[in-house]
């Protein structure tokens, strides 16, 4: 196993609170919500496992050394949060197959199955949205999710998928921008002034020698 302190990126002399903080930050970063329906979810899951066992290992080592004994306040973000499409559904068997194909990552098969269905009900739209999302076709994904939610407003699964579309996700410390729409104007104009020189290059024209 890798050095648990290295995994959490803290020194061996770090206080318990520092270790906990580092762990929490990493756990937030690799949280399943940030990799929901992401083709790289399995890699994030591995990271999460590594972080969890590093944190556990450090706690174990420290509680062994400590005189007073550290409280076992093991703080865990479980990675059980990944949706397993196959198990949550009990409806028609074709839809079931589509869900299984999606969870296997076999997007082409899932799409083929869906396209053969004429009844475009709420679930069909939801699954179509999921396929688009997996591909990175975010605009259409959102539209399918919206249709699914309109057709079946009470469905929690569809509502969750739609709300994930606008979810801000993880931000590192010191970063406060939530998105394109949330960006103070003065900030951006300053950025543009900085980049004017390189932008003029992109149009194929060299900027004048700056003699600098």
């Amino acid at each position: 196993m890798n050095d648990p302190y290295k995994v959490l990126n803290v020194s061996e002399n770090a206080s318990d609170d520092e270790v906990k903080k580092a762990y929490r930050d990493l756990a937030r970063k690799y949280h399943p919500d940030n990799y929901h329906d992401n083709p790289l979810a399995d890699l994030a899951q591995e990271k999460m496992k590594e972080i969890n066992s590093a944190y556990e290992e450090i706690q174990k080592r420290r509680s062994g050394q400590s005189v007073s004994g550290y409280g076992q306040s093991s703080y865990q973000y479980g990675y059980g949060g990944y949706q397993s499409y196959g198990s949550t559904y009990g409806g028609s068997s074709v839809m079931q197959q589509v869900r299984m194909a999606i969870s296997r990552g076999d997007i082409a098969r899932a799409e083929g199955l869906l396209n053969a269905i004429d009844d475009h009900n709420a679930e069909w739209n939801f699954l179509k949205g999921t396929i688009c999302y997996r591909r990175g076709w975010m605009d259409q994904a959102k539209r399918y999710y919206e249709t699914a939610c309109q057709m079946d407003p009470g469905n929690a699964e569809y509502a969750r998928a739609l709300s994930m579309m606008s979810d801000g996700g993880y931000r590192p410390e010191g970063y406060h921008t939530f998105g394109t729409a949330d960006c103070s104007d003065t900030y951006c104009i300053r950025l543009c002034a900085m980049t004017a020189c390189c932008s003029s290059m992109s149009s194929g024209v060299y900027c004048l020698p700056c003699f600098c």
Binding site: K29, Y30, N34, Y35, N38, P39, L40, L43, A44, K47, C132, R135, G136, W137, M138, D139, Q140, K142, M165, S166, G169, Y170, R171, P172, G174, Y175, T177, G179, T180, A181, D182, C183, D185, Y187, C188, I189, R190, L191, C192, A193, M194, T195, A196, C197, C198, S199, S200, M201, S202, S203, G204, Y206, C207, L208, P209, C210, F211, C212
Partner: protein, 295 residues
């Protein structure tokens, strides 16, 4: 089409900015040495990101070099590496096919300009295509697809963006490590998608006036050359999803000395550029030809 991917300046230290600048200069020198002076004219920051991503994340060796743009004092430039050479070849191929696309799509005076550019870059392109035949083939394929979609007047944003996204994602095939390949594919796919969409938004007014294809017009049923507030909000969300996918991929690989640069790009820089484009500020800044030079 290029020049949109940028870091957030406030989040970088002097050293980190200098590192990026030296990569920019290094790519410029590599382009010139390998493919001739004309090739160095295509340089921009998006292509520098390609060089950054292809490098192995270790501190680059630099040397102070003079060039046409900085003839007196010169600038620190990264030394030529295999990564820079790869990035240079991919850059030339991308630029060339975009020019060909321009010839195809435009008429009159503009077309002449593209034709002139094609002539200038032709030699460089032939060499680059020889160096990276697979990437050349993939690029040509995706741009043909894009062209067909545009001709058939497709009404979605995702399909044309996909063609361009796949094109950048093709760069990942140049890597060896399978995990790295997966992470890069996802990141470059969304970078390509984001660039295509931001570029479409940036060109919207111009395209509307000239009657050129722009995916935003059919998607939002626009009857004038700008987005309504509602459409803007919807479009910003689509951009954000791609930025978040880039950030999520970024966290799954160790980018070494480039981590700070990429972090500031994926968690802030791209949002700022997108915002400036949607506010109509990006082009204005371009036109004002401010000569501050450094990022």
């Amino acid at each position: 089409m290029f020049g949109y991917v940028l870091p957030s300046r406030e989040k970088l230290t002097e050293e980190e900015r200098a590192g990026f600048q030296s990569m920019y200069c290094g790519l410029c020198h590599t382009l010139r040495e390998k493919y001739g002076f004309a090739a160095s004219l295509i340089l921009n920051y998006d292509l520098t990101y390609l060089a950054v991503l292809l490098s192995d994340g270790e501190e680059e060796q630099t040397a102070c070099r003079r060039c046409v743009a900085h003839p007196c004092k010169g600038r620190c430039a990264a030394k030529r590496t295999a990564a820079l050479e790869k990035a240079a070849a991919c850059s030339v191929i991308l630029a060339y096919w975009q020019i060909m696309d321009g010839i195809h799509d435009s008429r009159g005076w503009k077309r002449l300009k593209y034709r002139a550019a094609e002539r200038v870059l032709r030699g460089a392109y032939r060499k680059a295509a020889e160096d990276r035949p697979t990437f050349d083939e993939a690029t040509r394929l995706q741009l043909t697809k894009l062209d067909e979609l545009e001709k058939n007047g497709c009404t979605t944003l995702d399909e044309p963006a996909d063609a361009f996204a796949e094109l950048l994602a093709g760069v990942a095939a140049e890597l060896d490590d399978p995990v790295r390949q997966r992470v890069y594919r996802e990141m470059l796919y969304h970078m390509g998608r984001w660039i295509y969409l931001v570029d479409a938004a940036d060109d919207l007014e111009k395209d509307y006036k000239s009657g050129s294809f722009n995916p935003l017009i059919p998607r939002y049923g626009l009857t004038e050359g700008k987005l309504t507030d509602e459409a803007k909000q919807d479009f910003a969300m689509t951009l954000d999803r791609s930025v978040r996918s880039m950030a999520a991929a970024f966290e799954l690989w160790d980018f070494g000395c480039w981590a700070a640069l990429l972090r500031s790009t994926f968690y802030e820089g791209l949002y700022q550029v997108g915002h400036a484009v949607l506010a109509g500020e990006f082009r204005r800044a371009k036109r004002s030809k401010n000569k501050e030079g450094n990022i």
